[in-house]
Symmetry: C2
Subunit: 187 residues, 2 copies
DNA sequence: GCGAACGGTCAACACGCGTAGAGTGAGTTG
DNA sequence: CAACTCACTCTACGCGTGTTGACCGTTCGC
């Protein structure tokens, strides 16, 4: 095996082990040592590749932050777009585990918390509010974000029986009217 | 000052400091030492009163779990009851900070996570499903819980600008139709 | 083929943590 | 006032952590 292929593989193995542990046990409870052990590697190598535990976490717990999909939607399309965007973050094994690792730690890890609050929730809410318009636009946009976050947590982090096993179609069918109630609040 | 009044006061001071730190920094990042310092007390005293860090956390981070209010509601009343129940958990300074401490750690602290998942979400969803009836009852109940959790987190843990500052009346006015869309899903 | 480069390991350090046990001094009780 | 209780403090232990720098052995460029 060539040298840099070997490098790429072990780096990927470390990353996989890190994602797994960060997403299950959380940042503080996963140790460099346990990640290294799971990747069959020396702890010092993890440091060499990722600089620090924070660096490893930043690399392992990612949240693809493309606001475009949602923010280019019309009022009419917004509910489905928001749902598709949220559920799409969890497609593909690595993507999914990276997203779960991020979500699991977004309440307690300072940097993940900052990103979730400022970049994911606030920025997006501002954009959605612009699409919505009206007096309560900002609040309604915030509540849309709140419901989507609740859905993501229930389905992928808590894995609640009903919500985690539901089909995507059922989720869209039931949640679309929910979001619409915030897009076009009844008089 | 009498001896046991003094005792009660320092115990309360420790508990207040613990709630404050658990709710802001999370379980792992608050130390017995820092809590003791904030309460102007020796770390060993915290151990003497609460047994262990886990014991202190269990005492400080509480979630009043009365399912009655919600589960005695009719289909018609359920949205308002669920909202009132959720918002009610955060009334009163101590109650509020205890609830925030619990929520902040419900993704990463094993015991808080277990309680949130099994007792708060699952048990309640089962009860709500019984009220709802119909094919998707369990899923719809789960989604109601998901939205309520998202609301609680956004308002009290993340303190998102729009959601945290909204009046209770606005919240009820906007969220009631949201929940109703899950109670009576449109054909 | 030889020296550099690099993937990978080993042993160790310094630190902060939860926790334990002996000690102290003021309030309580007979 | 003496004996005692109990809130509270001091000191220290043991452990696991993130992190470091010196060290091997293979692979690459010349």
């Amino acid at each position: 095996m060539s040298r840099d292929e070997r490098r790429r593989r072990t780096e990927a193995a470390i990353l996989r082990a890190a994602r797994e542990q960060f997403s299950v046990a959380g940042y503080e409870r996963t140790t460099i040592r346990s990640v290294a052990a799971a990747a069959s590697v020396d702890p010092a190598l993890v440091m060499q590749y990722f600089g620090s535990k924070e660096g490893l976490f930043a690399e392992a717990a990612r949240w693809d932050d493309d606001h475009q999909t949602v923010l280019q939607a019309s009022r009419e399309e917004l509910p489905r777009a928001a749902l598709a965007d949220m559920l799409g973050k969890f497609e593909g094994d690595d993507t999914r585990e990276a997203a779960v690792a991020f979500m699991r730690n977004c309440l307690t890890h300072p940097e993940a918390n900052r990103i979730m609050r400022d970049e994911v929730m606030c920025d997006r809410a501002a954009g959605i509010a612009a699409i919505l318009g009206g007096d309560d636009a900002e609040l309604r946009a915030g509540l849309i974000g709140a419901c989507m976050m609740g859905l993501g947590l229930s389905r992928y982090v808590f894995e609640l029986p009903g919500v985690a096993t539901a089909s995507r179609a059922d989720l869209e069918r039931l949640m679309e009217p929910v979001l619409r109630a915030l897009v076009d609040p009844p008089a």
